[in-house]
């Protein structure tokens, strides 16, 4: 199973195994990783699963869809490496992925 490292805003790291096919958001929820709210449960409707993708992984995680980009446009503290984690599907190619969480999702 791909291993994903989630880093909280305060620096706490959580390296967990996430099954292929789940999203990066679901990987956090299922492993009790705090810092991702995901109020809408993954419907790309709320922008409360915002993460910063580690620079080394930006290409492999792909580009945000137009829908996702529009949501991110109005989220807080958005950076060029911002993504909505409910829109990143986990595959073997993402084994080792590192994402960081913002201070707040609201």
């Amino acid at each position: 199973m791909p291993k994903i490292t989630y880093i909280e805003f305060n620096g706490t790291e959580h390296a967990v195994d996430v099954r292929n096919g789940l999203t990066v958001m679901e990987g956090a929820i299922k492993n009790n990783v705090p810092g991702i709210d995901a109020d809408c449960g993954g419907a790309c409707a709320c922008a409360t699963c915002h993460v910063y993708v580690d620079e080394a992984w930006r290409e492999k995680t792909g580009k945000a869809s137009t829908m996702e980009e529009s949501m991110l446009d109005f989220a807080q503290n958005v950076e060029p490496n911002s993504r909505l984690s409910c829109q990143i599907k986990v595959t073997d190619a993402l084994d080792g992925l590192i994402v960081r969480m913002p201070e707040e999702q609201h």
């Binding site: 009790n32 109020d39 809408c40 449960g41 419907a43 529009s70 446009d73 109005f74 609201h106």
Partner: protein, 410 residues
Amino acid sequence: MTRVVILGAGHAGGSAAAFLRQYGHAGPITLVGEEPLLPYQRPPLSKAWLKGEAGEDELQLRPASFYAEHDIAVRLGMRATRIDRQAKLAFLEDGEVLPYDALIIATGARARRLSLPGGQMARTLELRTAADAEMLKAGIAHGKRLVIVGGGYVGLEVAASARALDAEVTVVEREPRILARVAGPVLSDFFTAYHHKHGVRFDLNASIQALEGEGGQATAVRLEDGRALACDLVLIGVGALPNQELAEDAGLPCDGGILVDDQARTADSAIFAIGDVTRRPLPLYGRSFRLESVPSALEQAKQAAAAITGHKPPTPEVPWFWSDQYDLKLQIAGLPFDVDGTVVRGDPDAKTDRGARFAVFHMRGDVIRAVEAVNSPAEFMGGRLLIGAQRPVSRERLADPAVSMKEVSA
């Protein structure tokens, strides 16, 4: 040590338990749920889950291990029967008595039922719980005839999912338009046309006289104009009623929902209520209202957890909702109270082949009070910020899709 008892283990109750721990509550938490399942997400029941695109595992709000890891005692398949406010005790149906220092009522809402002749027959379903959804899923298949009574969000989402599974769908609505209670006419017309395009039939302005059947199984829906709609399955989706009886019996003020303040506190300072069961203040709109939505339940779960732990209260949110039907993502922010006009941005024509994409803004003067956005996340997100800020905008610029929402908000 403060003992917290939560009655109701849905989205609101389950989240309140999690927020309490997140905010540092160290005392005992007991979560009591009537359903046999750990807290799960209801929105997918009419959408991805019904279409078989999401499993039970994905429905769970938190993995089962979460509750043990966070020392949250869970009682499932268990009803609370009574609250003794003087002694601060909650009584469960199996005789267990739970003492509390803070009580959170999160008992949700139940489907409104129609008292119709034949309404008790098998194959007449409602959709609130995973168990309801199981039965619905089992009955929907290629060629099966589904009659949906009620053109609200639950009914329309099920209609879209049932069409994806190739069932025949008729929606019967008492009002002259669908979504009459929850959306403006532009949105109603668009969704009617879009569903129509996908093969859903509508009977508007139509009242049900009876359900008819054989051997206790519904086989037709009889309308008041005399017509009978033959069916294999009937779904009744005509709204929900708050499960406020526990609070009422305990003497807590209720009025179409348990009355709470902006900290989710009831008239009793030791008792909170959150989620669909509450009638909550909406400061932006100068009134109180019973919202049926996940975001509102989450906000109130945070309010209660913050009040109990002394954590800083959450930032007040503009109410919002979403619905997925076919390839449409509907996002709504705000509520159309005290509005005097609408601004339409984009083309609400369901027949367009370019992919539907538009937003309807409900205005009071130049201030946006609500936005209904179809496949238009920028309009939703930008609109939500503007609603919260109550800042006037130029109607002309708002109506012009060539002016970006960033520019409109600037």
